[in-house]
Symmetry: C2
Subunit: 327 residues, 2 copies
Amino acid sequence: MHILIIGAAGMVGRKLAARLTADGSLGGRAIDAMTLVDVVAPDAPAGFTGKVTLETADLSAPGEAARLIAGRPDAIFHLAAIVSGEAELDFDKGYQINLDGTRYLFDAIRIANGQDGYKPRVVFTSSIAVFGAPLPYPIPDEFHTTPLTSYGTQKAICELLLADYSRRGFFDGIGIRLPTICIRPGKPNKAASGFFSNILREPLVGQEAVLPVSDDVRHWHASPRSAVGFLIHGATIDVEKVGPRRNLSMPGLSATVGEQIEALRRVAGDKAVQLIRREPDEMIMRMCAGWAPGFEAKRARELGFTAESSFEEIIRVHIEDELGGTL
Amino acid sequence: MHILIIGAAGMVGRKLAARLTADGSLGGRAIDAMTLVDVVAPDAPAGFTGKVTLETADLSAPGEAARLIAGRPDAIFHLAAIVSGEAELDFDKGYQINLDGTRYLFDAIRIANGQDGYKPRVVFTSSIAVFGAPLPYPIPDEFHTTPLTSYGTQKAICELLLADYSRRGFFDGIGIRLPTICIRPGKPNKAASGFFSNILREPLVGQEAVLPVSDDVRHWHASPRSAVGFLIHGATIDVEKVGPRRNLSMPGLSATVGEQIEALRRVAGDKAVQLIRREPDEMIMRMCAGWAPGFEAKRARELGFTAESSFEEIIRVHIEDELGGTL
């Protein structure tokens, strides 16, 4: 089978390509071709023996979507997006990439469906940003989407399109609302939510990290490995069992910052915990107050999606996948 | 003040223009100009002494939205839409008119806002079709929007845009999720939901009407007079009190067909009820099973929106507004 990953140069896209390479198959079918697309050149996945096509493309440019599906990939992972902060700063760019780009992709598939019956699986990464405060805890599966960012609005709109295009039979779509990914590998970044990863990742390698909020802040997490698992499961799940409500809040782990720190202590000791420097930041604390504390994710769990059940597990996944298995 | 009504030739648009004419003002400000727009030529409201501009225009045509707001109307009622059945039959037309047309309007206002600070009130008619089965009864304000028609999808997307553009400060938007309008004046039409009105309107003037479903079918109703009242209230309400969740399920009356018929009996007697001919229609019964049985509409009621509290009241509104006050 042929797999297309749009947004393949990002952290999740790279891990997804690596996992597909390691598995060698998807849903029992051998993977003989992968097309990896991003606005910057993606890397070829190490060790993949099938045909690899690497593309630099902007999905929101005219004709690009039709070109990308010309080879009729069997499964499409659409991970490409302008991130929340940028979509808030640049209104036009956010709507152009996150909404119009996705709609171009969906419409290119629809037109191909009308031409030759093409009907791929489409796995779309949505976000818990489709929800906006005030939020209950836990957030039930049937809670309304009232985003408080343009990014969340764009994701919520694409979810609606995905469900309608699937209902119409143009493709088999699954929308995956990712939790916050923790521990995010790499360097500390300036994203307001970066500290959730920073306070674990940096101390694990003996570096200092800054904690800008209080220990009682509760949020919703899953590891990069779980995120890739959600996408793989979304690509192979029986859509008849999912029914018309195609956008699913993924399972995850609801934890306070204090619980994160205690898990770090159990895995890496007091010395690691002492590397966390408390520097309260009023602005980040205000932003945090509007973030999702946790979800029931009942439907997704019943449909077989799984995530970590403790923060120690999330830390151990990071040690295994990023630090060679040992501290 | 200057009022723009887009979709002014439809039933609700005509009644809204007539009500604004009768009131002479909106939110305490005298109405000195009305621009009435539709794809077919709208009529001038009888008795309006201000400036009337009648336009035939298609909002989804390039440049039309900017042209329509060139006079910087203070309040815009956007009622124009392709109806549910047509949006389902003609995919492209539905998305073009219901989604792109609305987005062109919102973007034209956004651009004007950037140019000269223009910031009108925008009242958008949404629909209970944003909800899709299975549905609880009553449906709470925080229930998710998972439409099962392209029309409902387009309305739900426009709701998200309206909330985001309002949050960004481009305009003050209010989305009004209208109940099924009952009693709809005019001739019986082929809409699947037409019978809710037909079984009352026709017998009230001595004509037969067909009932295709069983008496226990429960649905959500408001009179045309209430619908106009919602729009007026939406145009004058303090948006600070509404907050960022700008799309509101309107109050209405949840009633079974049997309750509708008993109200008809009390108002017009057995003779009227005997004009209802039962002709069960399997297809319409299946469709009905997915329609909204009723809403809590707690927020809208708290914000001052009001509707009828009995079906006799709904019938009496029809007699007053359409039949000259007597049977």
